[in-house]
């Protein structure tokens, strides 16, 4: 969008643009090197997953996926993401709402805190939960006395996943909410809407694409998280193995093809995530264009 006027002018000026553009040879060398890098580091690894997964044929592939332990891993991964994504939507909405619409003490501290899971190694994150809830941990004895198992059980996996995926929704929502400001909510309240109506009819529609975007990224990470989950899971086959952990176990058992079969599902998830993300970006850009063309400030369809 921003490029268009410059580009049009460049075309009009014709040959006199030579000073601001590389020669054709340099341009194509740069493009070729960039493409070569992407083929080696992006395309080959992706294609390899599917080729290896199907190397022994469809029946082997199907058998690997429907193996009871693999099936249990798939179900556990779906369960963990079904719990952690809605929780993080709730937390993310609350946090970004507070940051974008209100002024309060410790706001910059909260912003730093939201980014914390991005800067901590997943293994260290997992370690924190073991130290808190493990048998020898801070709450360990208290929990054990009440027969509550968190570490080496499903609750620990959910906790670690919630921690790791916490920033995604909040980080997508904060800039969108900051950009829309509070005028529209104030207008809605002045016109007699109650708080819930304002939220449902004004706030939510204005951030819907950012929210969806955050949910998609959050879900991809929740299903694919390895390091933190690996530390707290205990690796009990059929019980606390998520899909990425199952991939590692099969790989260590020298069952590469079965590992690739599970991995192909996760790679598919990554492709769907990328596709939806691109679609959302496109829709968002179209909405902004429509809104600015109608020249109604903030007029979302």
């Amino acid at each position: 969008m921003i490029e268009t006027p410059t580009k049009k002018r460049d075309e009009a000026v014709g040959k006199s643009q030579r000073g601001t553009e590389e020669s054709v040879a340099v341009k194509w060398i740069l493009i070729s090197v960039a493409l070569a890098f992407c083929v080696v580091f992006l395309m080959l690894p992706l294609v390899n997953v599917f080729v290896q997964a199907l190397a022994k044929g469809w029946s082997f592939y199907w058998a690997a996926l429907t193996h009871p332990d693999s099936w249990a891993a798939i179900r556990l991964t779906l369960l963990v993401s079904a719990i952690s994504v809605p929780l993080n939507v709730l937390f993310g909405f609350a946090a970004s709402w507070a940051i974008a619409k209100f002024e309060f003490r410790g706001k910059s501290f909260l912003i730093t805190l939201i980014d914390l899971p991005f800067s901590v190694s997943p293994v260290v994150a997992g370690l924190m939960f073991v130290l808190l809830f493990g048998l020898q941990g801070f709450f360990g004895e208290w929990l054990d006395a009440r027969n509550v198992h968190i570490v080496f059980a499903v609750p620990g996996i959910v906790l670690a996943t919630v921690f790791i995926t916490f920033p995604f929704v909040a980080r997508e929502l904060i800039p969108v909410m900051q950009a829309t400001g509070t005028e529209q909510e104030q207008a809605a309240l002045t016109l007699g809407a109650n708080g819930w109506q304002t939220f449902w009819h004004v706030t939510l529609p204005s951030v819907k694409w950012g929210l969806l975007y955050g949910i998609i990224l959050c879900n991809a990470r929740a299903m694919g998280e390895f390091g933190a989950v690996s530390v707290v899971s205990g690796h009990i086959t059929g019980q606390t193995d998520t899909m990425p952990l199952r991939v590692e176990k099969l790989y260590n058992e020298y069952n590469g093809q079965a590992a690739f079969a599970i991995a192909s599902l996760l790679a598919l998830l990554a492709l769907v995530t990328l596709g939806l993300k691109t679609l959302l970006e496109w829709k968002q850009a179209r909405d902004y264009r429509a809104a600015s063309a109608a020249s109604i400030p903030g007029g979302t369809p």
Binding site: G19, L35, P45, V49, M223, S230, P244, A263, L266
Partner: protein, 226 residues
């Protein structure tokens, strides 16, 4: 606990491999961002979407497929291993995995900056007789350098903590291809909590130092925004 020979070897590998991977990403990320913003060519939009692939792909899958690509019978390994370039189960493998996971950072920090760069300044430089190379090195590069450094620091920070992709490709041999996060994991498996905490504190301190550096860099780079 934090300074045993094995721990020191693991830090050295973690930091050196992360540094090399971040440098590779800074160079190729800048090239990629430039090509994506400045040039029109078939497949540009697909390439732009694919840049985020390392973010979307679970790290375990990345490690699995990279180790199979660079193994002696893999698609790349069968050409590279006879040349003496062994990518699987070597320190080079660690660098390869870390380069993969850190790839999008430089591209995504640099892209908006390049898009907002005013072409008029370059035109002025050209009018005043500067060569294209001169324009790039004394006009363009200084204004995009903060963004490149921010992307570099982000990729570096991510690489230091990375676990999933590395454990598949490195082989995790103590003193040779064992990274710090893996050593923490080993200490935990041995129920040696003190050892694990000691190592984790060193990694955490380093993460926070980098986080501070990234904040400073972001402040510096926003000087050029308007």
């Amino acid at each position: 606990m934090a300074t045993t020979d094995r721990a020191l070897a693991a830090y050295r590998l973690t930091f050196l491999a992360s540094l090399i991977a971040a440098v590779v990403n800074a160079v190729f990320g800048t090239l990629l961002a430039w090509v994506l913003v400045r040039y029109e060519f078939p497949g540009r939009r697909l390439l732009d979407a694919m840049v985020d692939f390392p973010f979307a792909l679970p790290t375990a899958v990345a490690g699995l497929t990279l180790s199979s690509l660079f193994a002696a019978n893999g698609w790349l390994g069968r050409f590279l291993v006879p040349l003496g370039i062994e990518g699987a189960f070597t320190p080079l493998g660690v660098v390869i995995a870390l380069t993969f996971v850190g790839m999008p950072f430089v591209v995504r920090t640099l892209q908006p900056v390049l898009q907002n760069l005013e072409r008029e300044i370059e035109e002025a430089a050209a009018t005043l007789g500067a060569s294209r190379y001169r324009t790039f090195s004394s006009i363009v590069l200084p204004s995009i350098l903060p963004a490149i450094l921010t992307g570099f620091a982000l990729a570096f920070a991510r690489a230091v903590g990375e676990y999933g992709s590395v454990v598949f490709i490195s082989g995790n041999k103590p003193y040779q291809t064992e990274i710090s996060p893996y050593l923490i994991f080993m200490r935990l498996e041995e129920y040696n909590y003190t050892g694990a905490i000691a190592l984790a504190v060193v990694l955490l301190l380093f993460s926070f130092l980098l986080l501070g550096a990234i904040n400073l860099l972001e402040q510096w780079s926003s000087r050029f925004e308007h």
